[in-house]
Amino acid sequence: MYVSHLSLADFRSYETVDLELDRGVTSLVGPNGQGKTNLVEALLYVATLGSHRVPSDAALIRSGADRAVVRARVVRDDRSRLVEIEITNGKANRARINRSPVPRVRDVLGILRTVMFAPEDLALVKGDPDGRRRFLDELAVLVTPRMAGVQGDYDRILRQRSALLKSAGAAMRGSRGAGDLRTLDVWDAKLAETGAQIIAARQALIGALHPHVAGAYEQVSGGQGAARITYKSSLDAAAPVDENPPLAGAPASYSEGAGDATGGLDQLATGRSVMPGVHLLEARLMDAMGRLRTKEIERGVCLVGPHRDDLVLELGDLPAKGYASHGESWSLALALRLASYRLLTEADGPEWVTDWGIDGEPVLVLDDVFAELDSRRRDRLADLVSKAGQVIVTAAVPSDVPEQLEGARIDVMGGQVTRVL
């Protein structure tokens, strides 16, 4: 797929801007602070309904304006769809597809897929687990848009349960009656139900991503060492020794879970039960919360669940975090992004997804990333992405764009865009 047109109104620094784009490479060149990243941020917003730079939408609206509009025409398999999103401060955003309004903004997810490389990616390797969890969850939404709803519900349930644990803890210490501990069982069940789906999706994703990560790391690093990704769950830490197999193992059978609920109707017909291992994970979460209850109330936080899990990155047999050199860390970060791109480009998609569609190849965005890399990694990365369907590169100066990525060039200066080549 590719984006043929992007137009913005009152988005970030832009009052209005129109940008024609084409297949192949387009570089956006201009000094820092001139609005290059704002353009790719808008593209990313259409793909993910979020920004990689700020957690809330308010910052996306040009100061002084009430609302921002992002319009992108996305061509997939020669059919084009116009996605329009209106971002309103303090009110619900609205979206239109091909000029007709959709009931929920979320409905636009899945139309545009992007994979973005940015200087911040180094934090995937060197930073805290929450960045890696976000990496997995965002990819999960690209693969199965339904996960956006599950993740939203999980966050809400997590906040409710944490609030309950805090007030229960205060009550136990004598400041208020018995608290509302009676409802904790209910929140446990809700957390286990949604949390299991998130863990199962991440595990399945890691299984599908792993061969791509190993391959891409070898290519980017020039054949040095083997990269490995595994899932580290708070469930394993919570389990008594010698009980329950670790989660890192092979996913459970796909037919597991048949035969409960819907009175003999085929469980495989619904998405939720098709995810490998969901029912086992749900039971293990319930079990872990049961055992951790006293500790959770004492501390007033949820101690087990996907929000405490991590994606473990290893080079050779050593954890990348703390052991990998700066160069190796970069290679690994690039390998994670390349692997996402390759997974989404697969012709058939992962085993558990039935509606993959054709021409799912995401748009590659490389935001200011070449300036960060040494010349060998920069060359190898440029070689690897030069064949992609659509690549959008931002750079401060033209010489930051590797020669393998010659293509259209657009200069960005003071919020104005000019096509140069």
Partner: protein
């Protein structure tokens, strides 16, 4: 900022749900230029609603008597109770004209963030009503969001052991709509809750 009374009125109106500062200003100036008898009627309605409207002793719905119209109606079945969060949900279900039972208004949903627990809802009153043994079925009609689902699960766990038939409203496709326009969460729910057809 306006002077004195005008600004006071705008501030008060702005505290109402769904009224922003601009709407508040518009309403305030509308009231200023309105006929005094119209304004007097509005004032009377406001005073009246606080003075006379109360909550039904039985179900918790809004009423002007001790008991609401539905609870007083002998034609309504006393064996089925529909549990809802707010009085406005009673009106919504009543619009269907399908439900012949009675209601129980909880006054909200379990929401630890907002400090609302089971004791803050009218759950004790519901159990008292069920104690007579006349009720055989309870329909849980709380909102289909995280808090509403949690409230329903909590109630179901309490009521099922009492030997009652407990049901939850189905969630799924809107009637008269097109399958293709349903969002994936709703459609997924509809699949999970599908029914066997016995032809």
């Amino acid at each position: 900022m306006y002077e004195g009374a005008v600004q006071d009125l705008i501030d008060e109106l702005g505290r109402l749900p769904g009224v922003g500062p601009k709407s508040a200003q518009r309403i305030a100036f509308h009231l200023l230029s309105a006929d005094p008898t119209d304004v007097r009627r509005l004032v009377d309605a406001l005073i009246e609603v606080k003075a006379r409207v109360r909550f039904c002793d039985i179900c918790g719905n809004v009423t002007q008597e001790d008991q609401c119209r539905i609870c007083r109606d002998p034609r309504r079945s006393a064996t089925v109770i529909c549990v809802v969060e707010e009085p406005k949900d009673v009106v919504a279900v009543e619009r269907t004209r399908e439900f012949r039972g009675r209601y129980h208004v909880l006054g909200g949903a379990i929401n630890p963030i907002a400090g609302v627990g089971p004791d803050d809802l009218r759950i004790k009153e519901l159990l008292t009503r069920l104690a007579s043994g006349e009720v055989t079925e309870v329909i849980l009609a709380t909102d289909p969001n995280v808090e509403g689902e949690a409230t329903s699960t909590y109630l179901a766990r309490m009521l099922v052991p009492l030997g009652l038939t407990v049901s939850r409203l189905a969630s799924g496709l809107p009637v008269g709509g097109d399958l293709e326009y349903a969002d994936e969460v709703t459609l997924g729910r509809a699949f999970e809750g599908r029914r066997r057809i016995n032809a």
